[in-house]
């Protein structure tokens, strides 16, 4: 992981449009955004605001239409498909709202999946890493269970284990609690919080205020534009409390 506080993501005038049968549908407009290593950022906004699209672009899952995007000061535009795949394999990972686990496949196999595509982690290390990641989310006793034998909360914890097994710099989480009840949602967010405490940069997309409050910084996005970029209220309170205590 790179040193905390250095510039990780730098987007300037980033735009994204979808094209369907010659018809252009603009989704993002002139996004200027800098995220430093080790930050916990929540991107908040109503449905259709473009927050997920922004996350997919920042996470190398989708292309932007214009503007510039530097990742560790390297222009993403100059990267080819294999370079992008390598970044996805080694430096970033994802937690999706719909979990996206492989069906009829065990928890362990799901967590092992990213390691198959990792260029530097040796095959002999995989099992240890996967079991460690499963233990981190508290599912050691479920390692051999098939993914469809798990509850929603457990599935999302498997997805988190899968996301952290390669020890990426950035974890992108797209509505990770969206399909979960409040108890499971809280457990998942605690796991995400822990990842951040271990030094991972977290970029979380959500439309729930309570979920976003786990972040240090909240970026509000509406109609494809950044409206507000603030420190989280809870974090501010915590910071002020600690200053007062000192």
């Amino acid at each position: 992981m790179s040193s905390k506080g250095s510039s990780l993501i730098e987007a300037k005038k980033l735009c994204k449009s979808y094209f369907n049968e010659g018809l252009e549908t603009p989704v993002l407009f002139d996004i200027d955004l800098t995220i430093n290593s080790g930050e916990f950022v929540a991107i908040m906004g109503p449905s259709g605001s473009g927050k997920s699209t922004l996350m997919h672009i920042l996470g190398f899952l989708d292309h932007f239409t214009s503007g510039s995007y530097l990742f560790h000061d390297e222009p993403v535009l100059r990267m080819n498909d294999d370079d992008l795949a390598k970044i996805r394999a080694t430096r970033v990972s994802f937690v999706f709202q719909a979990f996206n686990l492989l069906p009829r496949t065990s928890v362990l196999e799901n967590v092992l999946l990213p390691l198959l595509y990792h260029p530097t982690i040796a095959a002999s290390e995989r099992m240890d890493r996967a079991m460690k990641a499963i233990a981190t989310v508290g599912l050691t006793d479920r390692a051999k269970y098939l993914s469809n034998q798990l509850s929603g909360g457990q599935k999302q914890r498997v997805a988190i284990a899968r996301a952290l097994v390669t020890e990426p710099e950035v974890i992108f989480a797209d509505e990770p609690t969206g399909n979960l009840d409040s108890v499971s949602g809280r457990q998942v967010m605690e796991a995400v919080q822990q990842l951040h405490e271990h030094g991972h940069t977290i970029i979380l997309v959500t439309h729930e205020r309570t979920t976003a409050e786990h972040a240090e910084r909240i970026i509000h996005i509406r109609d494809g534009r950044i409206q507000e970029d603030t420190k989280s209220f809870k974090r501010r309170l915590a910071k002020e409390a600690s200053t007062l205590a000192k």
Binding site: H56, L61, D62, H63, D81, D82, A85, K86, R88, A89, T90, S93, F94, F96, N100, L102, P103, R104, T105, E109, L113, P114, L116, Y117, H118, A123, R162, T166
Partner: protein
Amino acid sequence: MLPEDLIGVSVQGLKRNISRSLLTTLGIIIGVGSVVLMVSIGASFQQYILDQVSQFGQNTFEIQAKGLEQQGQPTQAITFGDVEAVRKLSTVQSVAPVIFVTERVAYGEEELTPFVFATTKELFDNWGFQPQLGRLFTDADIQSASNVAVLGGLAVDELFPNEDPIGKRITIGARKFTVVGVLEELGSPLAQTLDSSVYMPLSVGKSMMGSSLYVDYISLKSRGSNDLTKADLESLFRQRHSIVNPENDPEKDDVVVRSMEQAVSVISSVTLGMTIFLGLIAGISLLVGGIGIMNIMLVSVSERTKEIGLRKAVGAKKQDILLQFLLEAITLTVIGGLIGVLCGAGLAYLLYLIARQFLQDLPFALSMSAILLSVSMAAGTGLAFGIYPARKAANLSPMEALRWE
């Protein structure tokens, strides 16, 4: 991605959809099975026919007058002088002239119209006949023009169903003959005519056919190279019959000189042609099986689009996805091909066991080249028909694939 991981991922993909995988291979199993079965049947019969022909000896020659060859009628093309000239050739080992005696053969109430060969004892040598009962006729029988007859193994069953034929008197035309021997059956369907025939000394046949100066047929064995013997014989007959044929045009000759080796090669090429034809027809089902694979692989790509998206999201390159789907298709076809080989070979063996009830000497032949070819064709089919779905999967962008409904 490591090669062993790629194999693991592909096998896992197939195992997750085991019933669909098995159904997909069915087309290949049937295709490869048919090729192996058809080629095996063809190869068995080819081997069988060649074995039958070869039992006459690869160095055996026959010379026929063209009239006999073309119309089934005796002609006056080969003289006894020709026979003596043939006998003197250094490339010829043993010569048996034959006159076909067109007479009925009778014993008591039983009557036959077999081929009656008036010949010399060399014919039995040339064709590998052994006496089953009694003896063959000798030079003395020929010199003294004894009215003795040797019966083919099948002719004896017809004339003497319940009696010992040795010493019995049979009638050929108007003459009485003493049966001195019975030949062991050659047994093959190709030699059925010879097994049903009756044999008498050449001198007797000659006198029965009005002291004929001509022979209908010569059987001989060559000494040394068959090609040299053939060339010697052709040149001898052209010289003796005053035929100018420097261009070696068989149309101009009045006799046909044919080696058994030549017959074997003609039969061999005909049966090989049949085998290839059968194999090609069966190959069509292999092609249909391949299209089935492509169809299923396309369905599989559609069904697993989210999985492809996920794999890409966790770092899979285009090439990883392409190879995964290609390997799945090839694995399916190779497994199908191997099962097809087993099924085809099993079925061919079953048919062989049934056919042996009728053709005892039928060999069981499995063509290794057909097996290798059909399995490679199956793998090739998997590769060819797997490329399109695999490319389709590999070219999906991660988000496009993840959003797929």
